[in-house]
Symmetry: D2
Subunit: 381 residues, 4 copies
């Protein structure tokens, strides 16, 4: 998290009904669209990311509606559970954790759905629990290929502003996003990018909604206002983060940096003789890498050791991966040296935990990064 | 907003699944109960206050349930609209803005409700739009007097930690609170204090809920965890604010300070020859004072003038009070000198706007504060 | 002190030998000249203001050199003591505290000095202990009128960026300044504006000097460097403060604001029936006002009471004024409402201390400020 | 630089003549003695480290006094130049950069000085330009062995709070220190630890002094005051840093951490096939390591490449080492992972610059750190 963003959120809160706030709101509401790559409105909630999942569902669907979800990992499961709690009929495309959503299977299932009972296809773009990025453009094609009218919803909580994502080009109807990953903010803001089709669907949707309702939000936003108290200080931080992402580094350079770090991390994992959980190179995540723990070793013991000894926090295995994987995040405000430090912490931890490693992963990562192309200069420079 | 709190929220976010976070969570979850004056659990949402209104309703009620609300002002109206949008049958006790909820009328209405169709009585403790504090203890007595089992819910968004509030003693079943007033934080956290009776009601309640669901929250909270990403940085700030309120100044001194400032503000209003909106001295709010604009003068013009000339933001007339009142807030991290500055800004504004004033309100306020009793030393000193 | 400046100084220190630092140094070295109103170089020391006094003397003078100083108050006395400790022969123009340096007397003394033994005339522009601003332009004329070659040195520690000051126009040879008053920074930086004549004098000056030496400073500054470690974080703050002063508010508006606040303060003092120490209206200070305590009352007891009861710190009587005056500062990041709050704290304190006051000074101040002309918009807007 | 310290320095400046400041001053003045390991007073200047060099000399010496200095590197040379500019007669013990001061030679020279003309022996404890730590305890013994009364002065600017240093045990008469290295603060504070013997010497010393004078400082300090404006905000930071060093980590753990990082850095340098400048293992610096650039390669080109590509700033070769060494700092708030990141930046830089390296230095460093003993828990835990 960049110092500049942290300083920005620590300014005294301003009156959210005054002109200074309106200017702030207009700025961030307009600029966040560039990050989502959409011409459509983006709603900003004063709530963490899970809220934006709920918002996507309650705005567009009615009790008992059928939604298609893909079994890709822990967060996909949580979203499914939420949909069920809200009274939706969830149909899960089975899948192995370590793979993304299968465009072919989705297309086939939709083609079967002659009655168009499926109202929405909900996919986690980047599955944080497995380090797998689903192929959204191909899923879009599969939906189109089946000629199916279902809404297409994407959870981009751990991909937005780290991995290329294109709401309009990919025909996504609702983008779900959060503040605390690629946007480099503390948690507490979440987002819905809303297509015209989704907005139309919301007129007929009958799930009860008030806090999450798009309509009063969009109406108030037109005047730089919110229908209820916004998280003003995080909006200060968002404004600053957008300057860094859009004006200074440039989105394409941001994506290239994450790609470079992900590649270096995989080189490290390979050199150690360990295995990346993500099975399909087309689906490697550029924001985090999940690593399988060798048999006979406990991933959580390793994580504890690294936290205590090196004050460094690795992601744990979530859900059914508990104890068997650990996750290396490489997203947000992160440079080559920071990644090298992170991988060094892992390598020292592996040694101390007695996990056999075949070679220095850090050395491999350094070679990978040193040979990578220089980032182009940002647009603004 | 105190500098210490702002600095606290600007620290780098920590892993919300790690031991350091657990300690933070245990601390704030335990200490916030002291502020709510309850032995029961208090749920903390990573969302602004309006979310806690929604949480109170969706956790305890079922579609079509009848709830009794009192027409006390703009925020009471907004809560009512929310309840209607969520599919509840709202019955409104009529009332004049400038008065609190009428305990007698509530008792009478409940006594009539032989079928016990009313499931909840929802009252705004301190109505921010009018500067009126409803008499919660008397309302509790009225409910008991009618022998009615309805849940009692209180919105304390603009009273908690400014005006004495006692969940357990007053038998409130759900307390709704937010971070941005008496707790001296930026907006982005909200709270539900949950009685045993409310928790029992939530087992049978059938409004759909997921993000707002108490059960997974309470279960995760037991281990210092959250079921989804919490607003970690605001929790840093909350920890600091609780030290200031509970350990340093002491809650009783905090309340006495707000009482003193409210009294001084009313003295100023009287000296100016203007009128306080709150009609009943038993219901004067200690956190803000709404002032009626004399006929022929526009409150919003006055507010704009004061903002432009003195960089000071007054509250506007909300809902049907638009243009006819302005509101002076005197809550949070505020001392006698700050209040004097605020009243001075108003007095200069009134002069510049050509509003006739009969005498210096600031002088009256200074006399009032200078003659007030010294605050007792805080417990911790 | 503005939040923006405080945030700016809290960024991680950068390498003071790297290119990012050089850019910072070039910027602040160039822009601070605009504040001093000089085309000549301004040296920035990583030391508080007293250091810049020493620098002015040791760079230009030799042991035993005669310097002319004026008895205008406590800080003038301290500067004199410093000069004596450094081995200079100080000649003091006697004066009453409450008056500025007397241009006529200075001119007469210089005219008498046929041997040109006096090497420097050292004047405190704004005497913080008395709230008196000496008439520098007239002193310049008096020096010129006497045809005397003495260097003219000015201490602007409590005037620069609050009260109009013009190094080049007034022919000041060394300007002494500090960071913690009009520049709105914490203490820790100090400045020497250096005329060509002063620089020439420094070649022959024989007081030992190393840390304070201008020559290595000016040489390093040409490349955006310093000859030893600079106070980098305060330079971050200086850059921000210069944006506020020069680009946003505009220096002339800054001066007008201080004039308005000084006038309102004097109106308050008069209304209370108290007396301003400064005896000559041509010499009223716009950055602070010293007030005489009525006989039978102790200024320090009043100050303690106000600090304890209102958490507000007034200036004490310094040197021979101890206990008999208190000082109200009105400089830096201060607006009408802040001044009103300050005067309110004094008024409540006077009442509580039992000091008889004839009328509300705050009311008088509010009338004065409300009737003052609107500031013109800043150049940058 | 720790976030906590940066936040601490960004609080609004308090009145340095008030009781809150006095408490702050008493605390830091008392606690900094523990770091210097002395029972004698430590003076704190609102000036960067070079000022404390000047203070040590002007307080204790008279014009023309003979001082013995050792040619150990760039900073020793700068101190010598300062002494010369101040009018002292400096005698330099010749030495090769890469070696510390030679205790035997110093003893021999003092033994020769029958007339006791040498008034002070001035040694840089840790020479930042070469990464060499002089053996102060042995130098003390050499002075004592020669039965010589000269004052012993030590520059600990880059050693204090990183490398064990003991003013009283080693009989150092004046300790010179700064804020910006081991104390983890921005530059802007400097220190003189003053022995009784030094204080006695100051009574007779005739170099002119005012700003740097110990006497008024020590007198004011007794009441928690300063004779002129202190750098209050840096004192806020100092208080916080002292909590971290003394209460939380514990000084011995701090030293052990620096030793571990220095050892790992040398292992890296050896693995790369490069050479550490420090020639004598007894004199290895634990706060930084200077590395010789292989013939045919330019250290500054390497540094520029690393700064541009990895945003990481290495120390340059100073004085006669320009272009032929680069310096790796490993002091202050630094952990194993940060060091690994730093060494990784160097290793990638070496590769990119085409400097041949024989093996991965980072791998060697990781092995070294992973096999190092766990730090004992701090006293306070």
């Amino acid at each position: 998290m960049p110092d500049r963003v942290l300083r920005a959120i620590s300014y005294p809160t301003i009156d959210h009904r005054g002109p200074e706030f309106q200017e702030l709101a207009h700025t961030v509401l307009a600029r966040v669209k560039t990050v989502v790559k959409t011409e459509q409105p983006v709603v900003i909630y004063p709530a963490s990311g899970t809220g934006a999942w709920e918002a996507a569902l309650v705005n567009t669907l009615s009790p008992g509606d059928r939604v298609l979800m893909a079994e890709t990992g822990h967060f996909a499961s949580l979203w499914r559970e939420m949909a069920e709690r809200l009274g939706l009929a969830v149909e899960v495309m089975p899948g192995e954790w370590g793979h993304g959503a299968d465009p072919g299977a989705i297309g086939a299932r939709l083609a079967e759905d002659k009655a168009k009972e499926i109202k929405a296809v909900c996919i986690v773009h980047n599955e944080t629990s497995t380090g797998v990025t689903s192929r959204m453009a191909e899923i879009r094609k599969a939906i189109d290929g089946a000629g199916h009218p279902a809404l297409f919803m994407a959870d981009t909580i751990s991909s937005l502003a780290s991995i290329d994502y294109r709401q309009d080009e990919w025909g996504v109807d609702v983008t779900v996003a959060g503040s605390q990953k690629g946007l480099m903010l503390p948690p507490g803001l979440s987002f819905n990018g809303v297509s015209e089709k989704a907005l139309a669907a919301s007129k007929a949707a009958r799930l009860p909604k008030s806090f999450w309702g798009w309509e009063p939000m969009l109406e108030a936003n037109r005047n730089g206002m919110f229908p209820y108290t916004p998280a003003t200080n995080l909006l200060f931080g968002l404004r600053e983060a957008l300057v860094m992402l859009l004006d200074e580094e440039g989105l394409d350079n941001v994506f290239a940096r994450h790609d470079r770090h992900a590649e270096a991390t995989r080189q490290a994992v390979n050199a150690w003789g360990l295995e990346v959980l993500c099975a399909d190179p087309r689906e490697y995540s550029s924001s985090l890498t999940a690593v399988k723990m060798p048999a006979g070793h406990d991933a959580d013991a390793l994580r504890r050791l690294i936290l205590e000894r090196f004050d460094m926090s690795l992601g744990n295995g979530l859900g059914k991966l508990a104890g068997t994987v650990f996750r290396i995040g490489h997203l947000g405000s992160f440079n080559d040296v920071t990644l090298a430090g992170t991988l060094s912490g892992v390598e020292m931890g592996l040694r101390l935990a007695g996990v056999p490693i075949s070679a220095s992963g850090v050395e491999a990562a350094l070679k990978s990064m040193a040979s990578a192309a220089q980032p182009a200069k940002a647009a603004a420079e």
